[in-house]
Amino acid sequence: MSIFINALKNILHRMLQLLSFGQKTITNSLNIYIKTSGGNTLSVDLDPTWDIKNVKQFVAPKLGLEPEEVKIIFAGKELGDRIRIAECDLGQQSILHAVKIKVKPKLREIKGSLVEEIEEQCTKPLCNTLKDVMFSSDDHTAIGKTESSSSNESDKLRVHFFVFCPTCKALRSGKIRVRCNFCKSGAFTVHSDPQNWNDVLEPKQITGLCENNPQLCANVLDNREPTFAEFYFKCSEHTSLGEKDEAIPLYLIRPNLREIPCLACTDISDPVFVFPCAEGHVTCLDCFRQYCSTKLMERQFWQHPEYGYTLACPAGCPDSFIKEIHHFRLLSEAQYAQYQRFATEEFVLRSGGVLCPQPGCGMGILPDEECTRITCINGCGYVFCRQCLQGYHIGQCQNPENEVGANSDGCIYTVDPARAAEARWDEASKRAIKVLTKPCPKCRTPTERDGGCMHMVCTRAGCEFHWCWVCQTAWTRECMGSHWFG
């Protein structure tokens, strides 16, 4: 019944709005969803110059409550009455949570002025209480909040997050949001602000109160541990597509508050990429992209057992691998596709698999250990020998030189001329690879020797096998003695 009345009221309100449009124009009105504790969602248009008290007065009648009985929760904070909407980092179709207060506000006042002061501080929106300085350093001893008098400076210190937005498919500035770690409801208030990236990225760092269903969320956990906050991010540059529309935090991209020059080009730019090494080496985003694409072309990415296919600090610092591989989304679409292909290939090879040698296929196959006759099942269907990667044969592998042209033994098949023309180029490069290169004896990566001695070191990151160009086996002292320089 109440839903029906609400809906009626809504329609009535809309009609009134339409009627009064001529006289009272709401400039830049924000279309906001308000979720109530009952699970209903109201769609309302709010004026950004309103404060939270106005919002309560506006929303309370729709919930059948008095304005004093409502609290407004957003991004892990109960918002104070004097906060203006414009301060809150709300975007079109953001979601506010309206919750009925269980304790009467009057009871609280008796506790004295001190309590009230603290509460007043807590009710600022999260985007205003977080400062960049806290997030520009990775050490766990947080740098204190710097209070600044001029609004200009505080605006500069306001926290900036960078995200990869799957909708925009690009690097965007992001907004931090908070929800209950257990029930995923946004009607959740934090007990304290996160002090550094560890608090935000690692689960169960910051405790809070779930207003959606405090009993359930606490009881399920047997009250043995408190309810925890979960932080997530949204793109600030497109209209929210709902609660599922999340962005991935690229937390190594940070505002260059300390004006540190790029390690590679020495220019000072903003934002910058801060590598996860002890020294915190900095590059500009362009140089980061160039670093990635150079390393990608040289196949010098590392297959890290935990993080995946990744890179370390270009200055060669220890323990500096990039953990969040979404940072490589900064590469162009084509390069990122190549990154994914190389990562998959590397994973297949590391797991003892093989890649289909057919030009244009390259399907990864994970055969049984003893199996030498391999069929490219999900790919082109090619049947090949595991040892020499040529067409499957019985008996010893042939020398590649003798093998060229051995296939023309009168099979009857038709050839699509277009396909044949395409294949000729591939055949030419296949031949060039065969003539000019020798495979690394350990990982079979075709290797070209463009001068120097016979001591080869496999260029594939992670293999780096030392081998002899003449013997095509591991490099030994004997090789050194008899044919080091040919």
Partner: protein, 151 residues
């Protein structure tokens, strides 16, 4: 040709304004990525008194890739082959964009002071350096006198 990256301009300026003692590096008039380098032989080394010409080229993706450096003056050194190619880790797998032209040239100068016959490029030189160091040093001095002195 694409515009010269600011980093190269800055490095060149600094090489001109604050030259490294014993090293001169001047960009070519027609190609700012190609440097004419002269390194003086370090004191108390068999190369003392010599002036060694090198060429240094900054490839397209410098500083992501290492500069290409080669001795033009003939030199008798276990880590430098007869074509002037240098065996130095920072020019290969230990390269980092944090290094610069100046650090590379300083490393090459240091290599002249401290040859490393265990990681050789010129086999016969390295062999002699290990077996008969005094004779190797004599050869190095002789080559320095013959090729690196008096123009």
């Amino acid at each position: 040709m694409a515009a010269l990256p600011r980093r190269i301009i800055k490095e060149t300026q600094r090489l001109m304004q604050e030259p490294v003692p014993g090293i001169s590096a001047v960009p070519d008039d027609s190609n700012a990525r190609y440097f004419h380098v002269i390194v003086t032989g370090p004191e108390d080394s068999p190369f003392e008194g010599g002036l060694f010409k090198l060429e240094l080229f900054l490839p397209e993706d410098y500083p992501m890739s290492a500069p290409k450096v080669r001795f033009i003056t003939k030199i008798y050194h276990p880590n430098i082959d007869r074509l002037g190619r240098i065996c130095l880790d920072i020019l290969k797998d230990k390269w980092s964009p944090a290094l610069q032209i100046r650090t590379v040239l300083l490393s090459i100068q240091a290599l002249l002071s401290a040859p490393n016959p265990d990681d050789p490029l010129a086999n016969d030189v390295a062999e002699l350096w290990k077996v008969n160091e005094s004779e190797a040093i004599r050869n190095a001095k002789e080559w320095t006198r013959r090729y690196a002195m008096g123009n």
